[in-house]
Amino acid sequence: MVFFYVILGAVILFIFWVVSKYNSLITLRNQVLNGWKQIDVQLKRRHDLIPNLVNTVRGQMQFEQETLTKVIEARNAAVSAKGIADSAAKEDVLSSALSKLFALVENYPTLRSNENVKQLQEELTSTENKISFARQFYNDIATKFNIAQQVFPSNIIASMFNFKPAELFEIQVAAEREVPTVDLSLKK
């Protein structure tokens, strides 16, 4: 009889353990999804701001049509991107096109002192930062989720309920850093 109760207790404990592990994995998965949504919100904001900026500076920057077209093209490509890897790559192209445009704006004193342009520039800079911080946060939380799926013993629960590891952003800092150097040589 005692033996039976011990077994019963062990089974109940095991069920509790499975439930709590499963719930914590679900919580993490939702946090990852939410992190992903946050990136989307910021990306959408950037896509909305860019046409405004281009329209504001277009009149003054007639000799830079090529750069402006590139920004618009990069923006449209980014809007229609599908999937994490594709979207990340297209957004990176957009980032470098934008920073080139910002560097060129510095050559136009009238634009540089224009309140409207300044405000748009601040908004875009901030959105740019928010995107990278949202990605950083997403990567942190997704790594936590992936680790929870891989360590013993919660990996058993993860494979039992078919959890999939979250995809991470590759932050290509090196590539992004090169862009300003190119702009400096252009300005000379």
């Binding site: 405000q119 601040e122 908004e123 901030s126 930062n129 911080f133 946060f137 800092v173």
Partner: protein
Amino acid sequence: MVQARNIYEQQAHNKRLTFVVMLAFVAFLGIIGLGFDSFYLGTVSRDFFLPVGTLTAVAFGSGSAMWSLRGGSRAVLSSSGAIPADPANPTHQKLLNVVEEMAIASGLPRPSVHVVPDDDPNAFATGNAPQKCAISVTQGLLNRLTREELQGVVAHEMSHIRNYDVRLMTVVAALLGATLLLADWARRSLWYGGGSKRRRSSGGSSGAGAILLVVWLLGVILAPIIGQLMAMAVSRKREYLADASGAELTRNPLGLASALRKLESASTPTASIKRGAAHLCIVDPLGRNVNSKEGFAAELFGTHPPIEKRILALQAMAYQYGGPTTAA
């Protein structure tokens, strides 16, 4: 010493230290109360045990901690004359943006943002839980810092919020206050008129009573000094930690380092921030020399570590991250 730890080790170390300090304060209050019990009230002896004094002292400490937790933050905010940031003003808008960026980076809700109309550069965080916190920045700070530096400062304050430092420092300040008050009270009652009662209650007992009295006297005299040293030690630890976890948010320790350098060169007292809020600020608002110099006194009595040491620690972090941050 501190620089060698990584962020997680530092966090664990801080939690331990905090626990020890809280325990020590409770012990101080208990000892002071126990002295009252055995030498004045006679409520603790071999055949009678009802430590009224001890319980009152500990209750007094926790009561004052609770009271300052309830109203403290709002009082600090309103006494500094901080006004909510105005989105129509471009510099305020920049601050609002930077705070929102850091809120995204830390995964916390965006705190409310205030600007203190003071020309001296400083910043502080208030509020007991991440859900209802505020970050306040002086106008002088906004005027002087670049966006990158401002980001470093805001990340530092955001880390104070994330690590529950505001709450901790409020509790430590209240406990320290209670200890100071009770110790002062005990000393006074010793000098004036306490003598006769003391002789009556402890006179009958043997030498053990006398030893206990000496220990108690030492405790009453030393508690305020040791308490102050402990409170300052906690405050300094928290500053190092906030610097480190702020750098974890921005991934750019040099932004804060260069902001600190600017704050150091403008080290005059921030008039609108009162003494009680000093431990909440990014640099000491009282302009005390002790926080800017290195050496033994600074290590013991400053609410903040020497700025030079903080900058060095941040530069070491930048070196550890490697890559782009060292180039910036």
